[in-house]
Symmetry: C2
Subunit: 395 residues, 2 copies
DNA sequence: AATACTTTGATTATCGAATAGACAAACTAA
DNA sequence: TTAGTTTGTCTATTCGATAATCAAAGTATT
């Protein structure tokens, strides 16, 4: 049992968080306005603000416009009080970003991967982290954490259990990175990272129920439910790529049949393409980029291939709508580049569905953070942790 | 914005809730033990307990066993301080229960429905509610609320938007019942009600992530995520009956194709049966009960029909596992009666799936509350509301 | 320029709730 | 008998939010 009990310290911590969040969102803002918006007493706000200033998390920026009385002192969030490192470890490349506490990318570094052998990848990963650490500006709190998004199954304790496309199994990345750099480390599934990134610093900023669909080689899904990442009992939720949508379909490596990602992923697109397109020089080296180039030149075959993918994506998205009744669906990862040729067949498929009044206010978007969303999301996890642990420490 | 701020009253209210819940779960229990278990100060517990006694929510039951010192005064939850009414309004019948504050069924009433014309059903519903109200024992707080579970789509504000099998549309049941009885009314989808009932007073008592699959004429699903009912943006979540599992399958009334409930519901079973079983007198009046009777007599055809349903149920359950990574899946509603003939084909289908380490600790259960789970769940909603609103009122 | 009114932010007195610790009552064990 | 333990109440203290007051710094009106 041992339920968390409540006391005045918690009240203070939570009110302080409210004040800080208000400043983050509505900056620049005065003490008086914070009191008005939150309902907190002016005195309470004053005292909490003065603590936040002492902690260097906010600062006064000088007087603002008067609204018929004494001019207010405007407060700003000090987004450079620390920096966060977020990394997207993908199959073909590693992308690392350094962000401020507001999720702005200060610096980015990328390395391509030619092989996925663990020791090799590890060295490249270390190199990127080191580079980012060394390039970070001086700040009060320094590097507050490192987050790495991985294309695989991660359990609740951050252990990477299986990454089929990297050919890795049971890797304790947290321990390995913490040993080397002595910083708080977060490991998450790439789709969860993307979802979190979109919620915190992307298109999902004002929605509470967001389904982020990462369409790359495979399909992974990150679930933001009631304003938080939903990870399931062991951390394995969101494997919608292995949702059966064709129960008499072909077998999948996962043991199921007719999995969604067999029909609607980048891999599916390329497989389809190989069967159809013959007037290509290296038929077996055809890529998503090639097909996009063809589509841009109005190649009918290519456009048709994309429309088929869009249609199959629509089938799964329909399921998502019926399952979650989300406020927003965000499609991310590399398939976003093909938006122009898939968006119509997706919406056509969705509009067939009549059960719900859902569509009246469903937002369907394509990621704008783009391939950055997982890296930014991983940086966001550390930022989140920094602020929630911070409050507990500073009395 | 207007975030809820924190203050001492909230601290007290929450600590009081902790004390009450501890007594509910661990009763009989002494003040000292509550302080030990929760971490609250002895004095705090004493004062909160004395308020709870004044409010008649708990009572002292006399001295308990000494453990080497002064004998403790044991405290008990006063489950008869009020009563709750929960009703399952189904297509063929209405089932109403009267429960105490601990979810125990004190009384039940059922009426069969021959037609679903709204005025007729309304009168029968009123009659059941009236009967239950009048039969309730005298108590401090009386009837604390009425909840009605309905086979249809209910929005966030409790409006029944669509009930295809009743042929109803846009019915404001809350208003209608509140007008008549002047009691707090809750309306919920039947699957959500069942899920809630199982969590509060059924098999799901100690799990936090439960997927309740109601297999009746159609299939509805109630989602308990992170310890609470997940309803989606508008309240329409859990329509997994209309999840496509066969994208080249037949059309469904919902506008989609190949919906799960076309293959794995009671309706599907009966449709299949009609095609196969011919040595029956009234072939077009065959029912689930008939088929169960046949299966009990080891009728091969019937058993095979159930195994097929189990297999198709397994396909959808596999999807559920991949989507949610739940701690527990509970199958409810009438198909539970066929457990013996479907359980094996379900588990066979599930075990094919190898992606997850999920199954290591997934509990797959058949409801024991049975057809009572939605009614009990509806009663549970009122109980929940009673306790959370109560605290705010009593200073 | 003088006056009245407003807005801002700090300060002070008060209140409410949790906590630590003291205490008496009621028990067990030796 | 005596010593130690457990229980539950009571008191003094602490902490944080609030209401109310106030001075400073502005605007609007005449």
């Amino acid at each position: 049992m041992k339920t968390k009990t409540w006391n005045q310290q918690i009240v203070k911590r939570e009110n302080k968080r409210i004040v800080l969040n208000t400043i983050k969102k509505k900056s620049p803002i005065s003490r008086a306005r914070i009191a008005n918006m939150t309902g907190l007493n002016k005195g309470t706000v004053s005292s909490l603000v003065s603590e936040l200033i002492d902690e260097d998390l906010i600062y006064e920026s000088g007087p603002g416009e008067s609204s018929g009385g004494r001019r207010p002192v405007m407060l700003l969030f000090n987004k450079t009080a620390g920096y966060s490192i977020g990394i997207n470890l993908d199959v073909n490349y590693i992308l690392g970003v350094l962000t401020d506490l507001d999720g702005n990318v200060i610096l980015e570094e990328a390395i391509t991967l030619n092989e996925t052998h663990f020791p090799v990848v590890k060295e490249k990963l270390f190199k990127i982290i080191e580079l980012l650490i060394n390039s970070a500006p001086q700040s009060t709190y320094g590097i507050i954490g490192v987050g790495v998004g991985v294309p695989g199954i991660v359990n609740n304790r951050g252990m990477l259990l299986l990454a089929p496309n990297l050919n890795w199994k049971s890797v304790d990345l947290i321990d390995i990175i913490e040993q080397k750099f002595d910083l708080p480390v977060t490991i998450e599934n790439e789709a969860n990272a993307g979802a979190f990134g979109e919620m915190k610093f992307g298109l999902g900023a004002d929605a509470n129920n967001i389904i982020y669909v990462s369409v790359g080689i495979g399909i992974g899904v990150g679930l933001i439910l009631n304003g938080g990442l939903f990870k399931g009992y062991n951390g394995f939720s969101g494997e919608l790529g292995h949702m059966t949508i064709k129960d008499d379909g072909e077998g999948c490596g996962c043991g199921n049949v007719g999995c969604w990602e067999l029909y609607a992923s980048e891999k599916a697109l390329i497989n389809n393409a190989k069967k159809v397109i013959v007037n290509q020089e290296n038929n077996d080296k055809i890529s998503l980029d090639d097909l996009i180039l063809l589509a841009k030149n109005e190649n009918k075959q290519s456009i048709k291939l994309f429309e088929k993918i869009g249609d199959d994506l629509g089938t799964g998205i329909n399921n998502i709508i019926n399952i979650f009744n989300p406020e927003q669906i965000i499609i991310g990862n590399r398939m976003v580049f093909a938006k122009d040729w898939i968006v119509e067949s997706i919406t056509n498929r969705i509009e067939n569905e009549r059960i719900g009044f859902q569509h009246q206010n469903l937002k369907l978007d394509f990621s704008e953070l783009n391939v950055y969303s997982p890296a930014i999301g991983m940086a966001a996890f550390s930022i989140e942790r920094f602020f929630s642990e911070f409050q507990s420490v500073h009395s």
